[in-house]
Every structure is written in structure tokens, then in C-alpha cells.
Amino acid sequence: MRRDRTLLYLTAALVILIAIGPVLPQWALSFVSVVLYLGIVVLGMALLMRTGLVSFGQGLYYCLGAYAAGATPVLIGLVESFGRSFPQPQWMPLRLVLNAFSGALRLIQTPFGPSDLLTMVLAGALLAVAVAAVLGLLLARYRGIFFAMLSLAFSMILYGLLVRTSELGSTDGFGLSVKSFAGIALSSHWARYTIYAFSAVTAFACAIALHRYSFSYRGRLAGAIRDNELRVEYMGASVRNVIHLNYIISAALAGVGGALMAATIGHVDPETTANWTTSGDFVFITILSGTGSVLAPFLGAGIFEAVRTFALQYVPNTWQMTLGITMLLVIMFLPDGLWSVFVRQRRSA
């Protein structure tokens, strides 16, 4: 049964990763960590793709997650001052919402402090979900290239906003470091391993959750919507609600990925997160992986990162070209993504 095997592979992968972690060389730990958080983001994008939508703006949530992870106190400050700039009574609903949000952020940050890995990831996810809940209301009305462009627009707007926000470092961004996990203080050596291990566990949890979801009622609706939205509406289901929900899920995943990235790399800036080239990379990895299985995004991310690292190291002057050529080759010869190498995809005539 295909379903059981996925669970098996995921568990095996998790166990192996955690076990060999302590003996892996530095570069390997980094590499796997990168693949893990990229894979998590792509898991979300694959969900959207199965619903028939390609987002060229996942960088938005990736960025939000990263910044939230690194700057929770600053974020809380920003949200609260934004709320204070609308003192008039008619803005009360907005202030309530903002206060609830900053309150939630404070709550997350209180037990372990802002430099705690757990806090970071939760804050990233929360911020992403909050923004996606709002933006999704609008975006769920668009399809195809317009959805792609509008999502891109929002991502670039965030980019623009960050570049002129000096509290967050403008174009330079800022650095951060993980000092503890769930309250347990970490030395810098153990921090690296903990980030790695936690990334693996999170990736595992996300993959399992998404796998289960794809067999649920709403999960199967996603494929139906992609095939024939009109029919879905004509049978009585709300396409927009499902799309909105899936959008929020994918945003949450991107936010988690961004937070993990911030923790792993130790630095965030607008260029590597909110800019369209980052979103473009995500789209590419998603197409590379295909939507066949929850394992595929990690495979795709692995290959992408491998090619990129290889190209940067050996052909630094032409790494973009190498990446481009690889993209073309994959698109030309593996139209269903890498996963089709393992499993024959079901395709309609």
C-alpha cells in the first residue's frame, strides 16, 4: 500500500538523520538543514500546485517567517505602535485584532525568550498564518497568471517595505543566533545540531500532516478544483474556501521554513527572502519535485541545493547558467518532476 510506505520512508529518514547527525561534518549538517527547510516551503507550494495554483510570492511568507524568528521583540513593537497610530474609536476593531496578534506573539515569546528556537518557529508560523488569512481573502479570487502576479506583487511590496525599514536593517538585514531550545540553553556547537534535528522533526511532522491531509475530503477536493473548478461549484462546494485554506497552510509552511532558515544561516535580509528570485527558486524546485508525494519536495530541494552549491563552487562565474540549463533539462525530460522516476504518474489523456 503506497500510503504505508510513505510513512515508512519518512520515519526511516528521520531516524537516520537524527542518528548520524552528531558524526556528520559541518558542511553536511548545513546542507541537510538547508534541504530540510527548503523542502518544507516546497511542501506548501506543492499543495497549492495540486489545487491548481502557482504562487510566485511564497517568498513573502518565507521572509515573514525569517524576520519574525529573528526579531520577535521588534515585531511586537512595530505591531503595537501601528495599533497606537489609530487611536480613534472607529478603528477599534483593527486595534483589537492587532492587540490580539501582538498578545499572541508575546505569549509565544514569554516562556523561552526570543532567542529560543521553538519561539522562533512558532512566531514565524503565526505571522505567516495571520498575513495569509487576510491576503488569502483577496488572492483566492484569482487564478493562473494573475494569481501568480498578484502574489508576486505582495512579496515585492514587503521587499520594498523592508528595504526602507531601518529598525530591521534595511537592505543589510540583521543577524541572529539561537541560544536555547524550549528553554534549554545551548552552546553554539549543540545549537547547530539542535537546529538540524529540530528541522528534521518539523519536516517529518509537516510531511505526515500533509500526507494525511491529501487523503481527507478537502485534500481530494484540491485535485478536483485543479481539474474543473466549475464542476466543483456546481456540485455545491466552495472553491474559494478550499483555496483560502490551502493558501494559509502553504503560507504557514513557508513561514516555518523561513524561521528555520533564519536559525540555520544566522542572518536575514530582504534580498534572499522576499525578492522575486527567491520565489522563482521555490517555483522551480516545486516543478522539479512534482506533486506526486510528500517525499518529493525534499528530493527536489536536495538536488537543487546540490546543483547550486556545486555550481557556485566550481563555476562561480556561470553558476546561473548552470542552474538555468539544469532547469531546462528537467522541464524538458521530466515533465512530472523527479518523482516520476520512481512512480509512474497518473496523467489524464
Partner: protein, 281 residues
């Protein structure tokens, strides 16, 4: 910008491809034109003829690169999904970025003579370079020429037929494949021309392709994909927004363009001049 946007919208309208590599055409055009014009000027040829040099270089780039990309690659991919095609052009863009680097080197090129040569003129207190006027004039000319060509020549009508309904055009015997080829090449030439003409006003360096494509996308989407008048209006709007931004708050330049695009899409989900949709059931 208009010239570039027109090329992009033309390619989208006919082939339904949002061509990311358009930015590369722009960059190549800029580099080639600057190099060629610089060469021309440094050898002491007639300075005013350098304009011709710019234009010639650009058209040449378009004529060479366009067909190579279309015939050599895109032609095999037309059946694929819209988004996949965009990714393909993105891959081409990446490749061309490095090709540009290899061919022209990493140093910026500045050939400002064509720009400075014409001097400035005054409107009241504001000083404008004459070259900007020339750019505007060329854009308008190109727009008018294109509009005329599309509406009054036989080739133009064929193009519009294909924009409207590809399958029907094929059924009517139109050689869609050749139309695609011609369209893409014209689009490439337009982009290169845009690059060539803008080159003297700024230093040509790495990354201008990426900068420009982002703006061009915004323009084309604002105008409604596939509509030429939309592209014109879009370019105008974006130009105004950018100037206003640069004047009042320079750091929000790019951001404001995307704000405008978001607003337009919210108010008019398919852009300003989108074609009405036919009944599906």
C-alpha cells in the same frame, strides 16, 4: 519602458508566454549598443550617426537572439502549461545573464555621449535633457507604427487573429508557427531597442536585465495581458508613479509600482484592458 512593455505584451498576447528572458534582451541590447556606439565614437566617426549605431546594434541583437531562442528551444515547448513556459523563459534568462557576463565582461559600460550631445532644454524652471524627448518621441512613434501595422496591414490582421484564437487561426490555415517566430523576434528586437536607447542615460552593468523585467511585468499586467493600448497606458502610469516616487520619497520607487499593480488587479482582476471572456458552458 513602453517599447519594452509592448514587446512583452505582444509576445504574451500571441504566444501566451510571459517572457522573463525579455529582460535579457534588454540587457544584451544595452550592452551591444553601448559597445558598438563606444567603438564608433572612439574611432572618430560622425557623432550623430552614433544614434544609428545604437539602433542598429539593438536590432541586430534582436534578430540574432530572438530566432535562436524561439526556433532552438521554445518551439518544442508550446504544448506545455503557461507556467512551465514562464519557467523556461526564466531558465533562459539565467543562462543569458551569464552569457552577457561572459561576452561583455563584468565592468559597467558608460557611453553617455549620445545622451549629452543633444543638450538640455528648459520648461520654466525645470531642465530636461533633449534626449528624453527623443526617447518619448521614439516610443510614441513605435507605438503608432505598431498600432497601424496591426490594424491596417494583412500581417497585422493575421497577428490579431492569432492573439484572439489560436486554434481557430490554425483551422483557417494561418501558419501559426511562423507567426510565433515573427512575433518573438519582433518582441526581442523591441526589448533590445529599449535597452539600446536607455543605455546612454545610465551605466550599463550587471543586473539591469533583472531590474527591468520586474517593472515590465508590472506594466504589462496593469495594462491587461495581451493588450497593446493597455501596455501604453500601463507604461504611462508606471512612469508617472515612478517619477512621483523618486521626487517625493525615492526609496519607495519599486514598492510603489507594485502597490499600483496590486491596486489595479484588485479593482480590475484582469488588468485595465483585458479581453472579455467567451461563454464556457
Amino acid at each position: 519602458m513602453f517599447v519594452i512593455a509592448v514587446g512583452l505584451t505582444l509576445i504574451y498576447g500571441v504566444m501566451k508566454i510571459l517572457n522573463v528572458a525579455h529582460g535579457s534582451m534588454y540587457a544584451l541590447g544595452a550592452y551591444a549598443a553601448s559597445t558598438f556606439a563606444g567603438y564608433w565614437l572612439s574611432h572618430g566617426y560622425a557623432p550623430y550617426a552614433s544614434y544609428a549605431a545604437l539602433v542598429a546594434a539593438a536590432l541586430l541583437v534582436g534578430l540574432v537572439a530572438g530566432p535562436i531562442i524561439e526556433r532552438g528551444l521554445l518551439r518544442f515547448m508550446y504544448g506545455r502549461d503557461e507556467v512551465v513556459l514562464v519557467l523556461i523563459t526564466y531558465a533562459v534568462f539565467l543562462i543569458l545573464e551569464d552569457v552577457t557576463k561572459l561576452v561583455f565582461g563584468v565592468d559597467p559600460i558608460l557611453v553617455a555621449e549620445p545622451y549629452g550631445m543633444l543638450g538640455n532644454f528648459r520648461i520654466g524652471e525645470l531642465v530636461y535633457p533633449v534626449y528624453s524627448l527623443v526617447l518619448v518621441a521614439v516610443s510614441v512613434l513605435a507605438g503608432v507604427a505598431l498600432a497601424l501595422a496591426l490594424n491596417h496591414t494583412r500581417q497585422g490582421k493575421i497577428l490579431r487573429a492569432v492573439i484572439h484564437d489560436r486554434e481557430m487561426s490554425m483551422a483557417l490555415g494561418i501558419n501559426v508557427s511562423r507567426v510565433y517566430f515573427v512575433t518573438f523576434t519582433i518582441g526581442a528586437m523591441l526589448a533590445a531597442l529599449g535597452g539600446a536607447l536607455t543605455a546612454p542615460t545610465t551605466s550599463v552593468q550587471l543586473g539591469i536585465g533583472a531590474e527591468v523585467i520586474v517593472l515590465a511585468f508590472a506594466i504589462v499586467v496593469i495594462g491587461g495581458l495581451g493588450s497593446l493600448s493597455g501596455a501604453a497606458l500601463g507604461a504611462l502610469i508606471v512612469g508617472l508613479v515612478r517619477s512621483a516616487a523618486v521626487h517625493y520619497r525615492p526609496e519607495v520607487e519599486l514598492f510603489s509600482v507594485y502597490m499600483v499593480m496590486a491596486v489595479v488587479l484588485i479593482v480590475r482582476p484582469k488588468g485595465l484592458f483585458a479581453a472579455p471572456e467567451a461563454r464556457k458552458i
